[in-house]
């Protein structure tokens, strides 16, 4: 017994080290499983408040560029309003299939783009109706999908995250693919699994596919920069230059699809045969 106690006293630093490392690994793996580990995230109150404070300063410094972006958005919206009548007359647009999509305004207050798993923090949470798994867009294009939410803030799984995979398609031909990121460049993402029959041209634009309950169809993503066949030779890997500058973000909108809950509920009733 005496020896055992002596052993523990002699090795106390090593034991403490082991306990702390195990605790750290526990936190790491907990945060890795999607949508869990709620209490240790940037969505909590303390870090959220600090982030909004620091972003207050950086917002001020960015006012000029953000104003320009807003002006561009305004002009686009005016254009859209002008076009609405003709759209109604010609054919039902794809987004009307969803029975109107709500855009909840939010603001990016913290932005990562240099890691392999990047997250954004936005100001705007459950109080405004923001929940997990909602799409987030900026005036220029998509940003990501909401991950964890608190009453006033939410974290967003950025498209610059190796865990992100978003359905997207070519504007011209409706060929679908999956949007991923290879961590090399914060302005270039990859569209994989595009059929080799798809007609590709450098400069073609890519939009969201609308095959999910997160993004409606037709939200701009980026333009084709280059493309090549993958190893199997059956699918293209397309390099896409994002319309968004992911290193300079400000205003954002969270997309609330009114029928999302209903569709998910319906899909869950399908037996999983895999």
């Amino acid at each position: 017994m005496q020896q055992l106690i002596n052993f523990f006293i002699r090795k106390r630093h090593f034991l403490l080290f082991c306990v702390l490392v195990l605790l750290g690994l526990f936190f790491t793996f907990q945060s890795r499983s999607y949508h869990s580990g709620k209490y240790l995230s940037a969505a909590n109150g303390i870090s959220g408040t600090l982030f909004s404070w620091t972003s207050g300063i950086s917002d001020y410094l960015n006012l000029k560029t953000q104003n320009e972006l807003l002006q561009i958005e305004n002009s686009q919206l005016r254009e859209a309003v002008g076009n609405v009548n003709s759209i109604f007359q010609s054919q039902a647009s794809q987004s009307t299939l969803w029975g109107g999509v709500d855009y909840i305004p939010a603001r990016v207050i913290n932005n990562n783009y240099s890691r392999t798993k990047n997250y954004l923090t936005i100001k705007g949470g459950e109080k405004l109706g923001i929940q997990t798994s909602m799409g987030v867009v900026s005036p220029n294009g998509i940003l990501g999908i909401t991950d964890k939410t608190s009453s006033g803030y939410a974290t967003v799984l950025s498209i610059l995250n190796t865990q992100s995979s978003i359905n997207a398609k070519l504007t011209k031909s409706n060929h679908f693919g999956t949007l991923q990121w290879d961590t090399r460049d914060p302005n270039i993402v990859q569209l994989v699994d595009v059929q080799r029959l798809a007609p590709l041209a450098i400069g073609d634009s890519i939009v969201t596919g609308g095959r999910s309950t997160i993004f409606p169809a037709g939200i701009p993503i980026g333009a084709i920069e280059s493309y090549e066949l993958d190893q199997s030779g059956n699918y293209y890997v397309v390099q896409i230059k994002l319309f968004n500058d992911m290193t300079n973000l400000g205003p954002a909108y969270v997309i609330k699809m009114p029928d999302a809950a209903e569709i998910q509920e319906l899909e869950e009733t399908i037996p999983d045969e895999e």
């Binding site: 630093h13 605790l23 990562n112 798993k117």
Partner: protein, 149 residues
């Protein structure tokens, strides 16, 4: 930390300056206190960067292996020779900082990427970020240490 998250603007190199605390902890200080405080420090950084516990694990490992680097850099009897790390010869300080920062960054990036197929990315990030962090840490050592000399 809030400032340094944005330093990654120059390419992909992310410096982590908070490890200065572990490097400059008094040589004769209580080792348990160092281990626990570096764990909490790492966890604090994790909370802000959504990384679970990778900074905590890396910091604790670095704190635990610190005597090894002290020994190789300043000699076996470092506990009697070293009063303040800053006042040691520059060669020793450089070995000490480089060694410890490499261990920290390697564990950090391996856990963050966590995939064997991406080993090249881990090594690349570790190498460049560790060199850059070490450089910044050494500069801060010189800046904040000169007064006491």
């Amino acid at each position: 930390m809030l400032v340094l998250n944005n330093v990654a603007l120059f390419g992909y190199i992310v410096p982590f300056l908070y490890v200065i605390y572990i490097l400059r902890f008094p040589v004769t200080g209580n080792r348990s206190v160092l281990l626990i405080s570096s764990f909490l420090l790492g966890l604090f950084v994790d909370i802000f960067s959504n990384t679970g516990g990778v900074h905590a694990v890396a910091s604790v490992t670095m704190a635990y292996s610190r005597p090894l680097f002290l020994k190789t850099s300043f000699g076996i009897s470092y506990e009697y020779n070293v009063v303040k790390i800053i006042e040691m010869p520059l060669g020793g300080i450089i070995t000490y900082v480089l060694g410890a920062v490499f261990v920290h960054h390697f564990i950090l990036f391996s856990l963050e990427v966590f995939s064997l197929s991406q080993w090249a990315l881990v090594l690349k990030s570790t190498l460049f970020s560790a060199l850059f962090s070490s450089l910044l840490i050494l500069i801060s050592f010189i800046l904040f240490g000169s007064k006491k000399r």
